[in-house]
Amino acid sequence: MTMRFMLLFSRQGKLRLQKWFTSMSDREKKKIIRDMTTMVLARQPRSCNFMQWKDLKIVYKRYASLYFCLGVESQENELLALEIIHRYVELLDKYFGNVCELDIIFNFEKAYFILDEFLMGGEVQETSKQIVNRSIEASDMLQEVRFTDMHAHTHKCT
């Protein structure tokens, strides 16, 4: 698995999003969250964005008040991992319009839905920003319809 987990947390260490790409016990998850927040928050302002933790590489980046932290396997390309984080931020930004931390707090389920259109099973799912955006919009529209007739809608999305 190339990506093991993605965490978003604030500068006070409050978790805003957690996505796990492997099966882990609750205890392990809590330990990883603790370790990651401690390690990342302890870093100097202009240091390298990569760290070594056990057998994983940790790639993190700070956007405004949120830290985005990816745990990847050791053969992963760290620079590309930074690009993945950046792409996710761009998607959020497009969806919420000038996204800020509060957006992600109050609409956390939307943040998950966007992530699930971009990444899947620890890999990049869709490389085009526009396609991801369109898929999210279409899903949202589907959600709006109160009593959906499932068989009538057959969207073809390319």
């Binding site: 099966s23 882990m24 016990s25 620079l79 109050f106 956390f108």
Partner: protein
């Protein structure tokens, strides 16, 4: 997008709680309400409730009571409820929970739903938390979707297949054909998914890898299309067309080209093209270049391409971006073994990175610098490494110190440089060096006999300035003890000599002894050094005597034992003191794993050498304890004995001989002939006796027989009898034949113990065969020479 009002109200309420306690209260109330809602019949707000629960779960509170609700919601016909239900399943359920099996059926149904977004939910959830059973169950369905659906579903199905293959390796076979055909699609998402799937299949199974090698031309084609093509708005990132796909293709090419000439050749041109054409001003371009470099270095690329790759890494090293420098060093580390010379060219930049602010970069630079040290650059590299040591973060210190030691040992241009380097490290980072450093350094110093004067002067000066670094203090004490006379002589060739009196030197050692900073082992060193000085200085021996006797009542048992033994050396064995405290001989290098006890046994089994007493060997053991104790560094005894094991008999002689040299003052007349008395002389057979007093009651008698007749004597045996209270122990004779004309002698040792101090008499029976006839004779010995009787 319509905000979910109840959810947001709850979030607001939770956030406005001012204390942890208040927050818990709010959450408890909310959870109770949610539980109540779950129990009710279907109402419009089910998805909101579950969403609330998921938020509470993310804050870290238990939410397992929502698991069944997830299962119910997934089965709901409403899309909004399905969506949240599947999200809840991904967050609350994992394959270890029983409830996860319950959703298998729902997933199966949703996979064949006509609405692609519902299919997508099912695929996503399966790829996230599908257990092995679920995967086995649903794999055929996924395969079907891989072949016949739209590109939106195909790309998701591909990644779902990746997950299935990871969970159940055997199912890889199922997807091979579909994966192959997906490569030909136009849609980037699908191609990306296909590449990931093929990568996974190839990594798991080498046969599959062989089969997929045929796809290399296709991959090269796709890659070329991406690199050369014009601006494509859909996939462009800062001028690079679909970097995610490019990197994945490069990685697959790496796997396919590894260890395979043909495949490597096919991708050579492409790699060169990517390496030269990719714009490296932004991170994204560098990501692609990085992957290219990794691929080039891993496959069987031609040398020109390899040089190009290493040069790219060299350029990365000069990049302003810290991240890029970091990954450059990581990659160079991997190839420093194989392409050493290429990496050496960038040594300057790497060494500069040692001064970087960032801890990760420093660590990488240290690893790489240590790997680049060689005989030609040792002096300059060591300068850099030593300055790094003085300013490096504490967690890197011990690694740096051991790296420096290793490098110094392998490439030291001169002994003096080597010693200087080690001393420098001990002064800077003495607390972080490994335990073997002290004995290793001592051994090095001993072996460099021409630098003894220089070394002791340097260490003395170091000790004057700072006694806190324990390894340095230990070595310094040892040196001063050994070579203190060189220090006092006041002349030195290599360095400025110190004008120091005996009192000054003793002052320094006493300071170490009394300092609270000194470890117990360090104080042991200092005490022994003080003792050794008693033979090297002339005037202040009394001071040493008083120091030693003070420590005879020290609380530290180790120090006390030493002091008591040294005291004994002053009082009872003063005649031995000079020999015991003589300068150490050169220490053998491979005395590792050698135990003190072995050498003692060896010296005890020495019988052959005439005139060699057994008792002194016991005292030798005592003395060996004095010299060796529990200290590793005082290695002369093991060293001396290290020659013993391979050739026990003859070398033991040397061992015994050396020990006897040390014990030079043991008896008034050492190995020189002891008083002998002829006790039997008849028919050309002479037996002489010599004896040595070992202790108050112990006595060793040596009988020597010789034959002056014209014929050989065979079967020569001696038997002895003594008064009842005396204990007798006869050792094996050296032989039992006496050749004619005194060509050789036979000796036999007899050990007597006379605890009651009775009048010592011995009756000796001599038997032998000469010229075919047996002879037997008895003689009584009433007086023993050297006993004063």
């Amino acid at each position: 997008m319509s905000p979910s009002v109840p959810l947001q109200e709850m979030i607001r309420a939770i956030r406005s709680a001012r204390t942890q306690c208040e927050e818990r209260g709010v959450i408890q109330r909310e959870c109770a309400a949610i539980r109540a809602q779950f129990r009710q019949a279907d109402n419009g707000g089910r998805s909101h409730n579950l969403a609330k629960l998921l938020y509470v779960h993310m804050l870290g509170y238990p939410a397992h009571f929502g698991q069944m609700e997830c299962v119910r919601m997934i089965a709901s016909p409403r899309y909004s409820e399905k969506r949240v239900g599947y999200l809840g399943a991904m967050m609350l359920l994992d394959e270890k929970q029983d409830a996860s099996l319950l959703i298998t059926n729902s997933i199966k149904n949703d996979l064949s739903n006509s609405n692609q977004y519902i299919q997508s939910l099912a695929l996503c959830t399966l790829a996230c938390m599908g257990s092995a059973e679920m995967c086995r169950d649903l794999a055929p369905e996924i395969d079907r979707l891989l072949r016949a659906s739209n590109s939106y579903i195909k790309k998701k199905a591909a990644l779902c297949a990746v997950h299935i293959v990871r969970k159940v390796h055997d199912l890889g076979e199922l997807f091979t054909k579909a994966a192959r055909s997906l490569l030909t699609e136009k849609n980037h998402g699908v191609v990306h998914g296909a590449v990931v799937l093929i990568t996974e299949l190839c990594e798991r199974n080498s046969e599959t890898l062989e089969r997929f090698r045929k796809t290399v031309p296709d991959l090269v084609q796709i890659m070329k299309g991406l690199v050369i093509s014009g601006y494509s708005p859909d996939h462009d990132v800062a001028g690079i067309s679909d970097p995610f796909l490019q990197v994945r293709i490069l990685r697959l090419l790496r796997i396919l080209g590894r260890n395979n000439e043909g495949a490597s050749d096919a991708m050579n041109d492409l790699l060169a093209q990517v390496a030269t054409n990719t714009d490296s001003t932004k991170t994204v371009g560098n990501a692609v270049l990085y992957e290219t470099v990794l691929t080039v270095l891993d496959i069987k690329s031609e040398s020109g391409l390899r040089v190009l790759a290493v040069n790219i890494l060299g350029r990365f090293l000069l990049n302003n971006d810290r991240n890029i420098r970091y990954i450059a060093m990581t990659s160079l580390q991997k190839i420093v073994g194989t392409d050493h010379n290429a990496v050496q060219r960038h040594r300057g930049t790497i060494v500069d990175c040692l001064k970087d602010q960032d801890a990760s970069v420093k660590r990488r630079a240290l690893d790489l610098s240590l790997a680049l040290v060689s005989a030609s650059n040792i002096r300059s590299m060591m300068k850099e490494l030593l300055s790094f040591l003085s300013s490096c973060p504490p967690e890197l210190r011990s690694q740096t110190a051991s790296g420096i030691f290793n490098a110094a040992e392998r490439y030291a241009p001169s002994q003096r440089w080597h010693i200087d380097t080690i001393l420098h490290v001990l002064t800077t980072a003495g607390g972080d060096v490994r335990d073997e450093t002290v004995p290793n350094l001592i051994q090095l110093i001993t072996n460099t006999s021409e630098l003894h004067c220089y070394t002791v002067h340097k260490l003395y000066r170091a000790l004057l300035s700072d006694i806190s670094q324990q390894p340095l203090v230990q070595v310094a004490c040892w040196c001063i003890g050994e070579y203190g006379d060189l220090l006092l002589r006041g002349e030195c060739q290599e360095t400025e000599p110190v004008q120091v009196t005996e009192d000054d030197v003793l002052d320094v050692l006493e300071t170490v002894l009394q300092s609270h900073m000194s470890f117990p082992s360090t104080r042991g060193f200092a005490l022994t050094a003080t003792m050794k000085l008693s033979t090297r200085i002339t005037e202040n021996v009394d001071r040493i005597r008083s120091i030693v006797s003070i420590y005879g009542s020290c609380i530290d048992v180790e120090l006390q034992q030493r002091a008591v033994e040294y005291n004994a050396l002053f009082k009872k064995y003063d005649h031995m003191r000079a020999a015991v405290l003589e300068r150490m001989p050169v220490i053998e290098k491979n005395s590792q794993g050698h135990i003190n006890g072995e050498t003692i046994k060896e010296s005890q089994t020495v019988k052959v050498k005439p005139g060699e007493p057994q008792q002194p060997a016991n005292q030798v053991c005592d003395l060996l304890d004095l010299l060796g104790g529990s200290e590793q560094p005082l290695q002369p005894s093991p060293a001396l004995g290290s020659t013993a094991p391979p050739m026990p008999v003859s070398t033991a002689n040397t061992v015994g001989g050396d020990l006897l040299d040390l014990l030079g003052g043991l008896e008034p007349t050492p190995i020189t002939p002891v008083a002998t008395v002829t006790v039997y002389e008849k028919d050309g057979v002479t037996v002489t006796l010599s004896c040595e007093k070992q202790s108050d009651s112990g006595l060793t008698v040596t009988l020597t027989a010789s034959n002056s007749t014209e014929s050989d004597i065979r079967g020569f045996t001696l038997q002895a009898a003594v008064p009842k209270s005396v204990q007798l122990h006869m050792k094996a004779p050296s032989g039992d034949s006496l050749p004619a004309r005194g060509a050789a002698k036979v000796t036999q040792m007899v050990v007597l113990n006379n605890p009651n101090k009775v009048n010592l008499k011995m009756r000796l029976r001599i038997s032998y065969t000469s010229q075919g006839s047996a002879v037997q004779d008895t003689v009584q010995i009433d007086s023993f020479p050297g006993l004063g009787q």
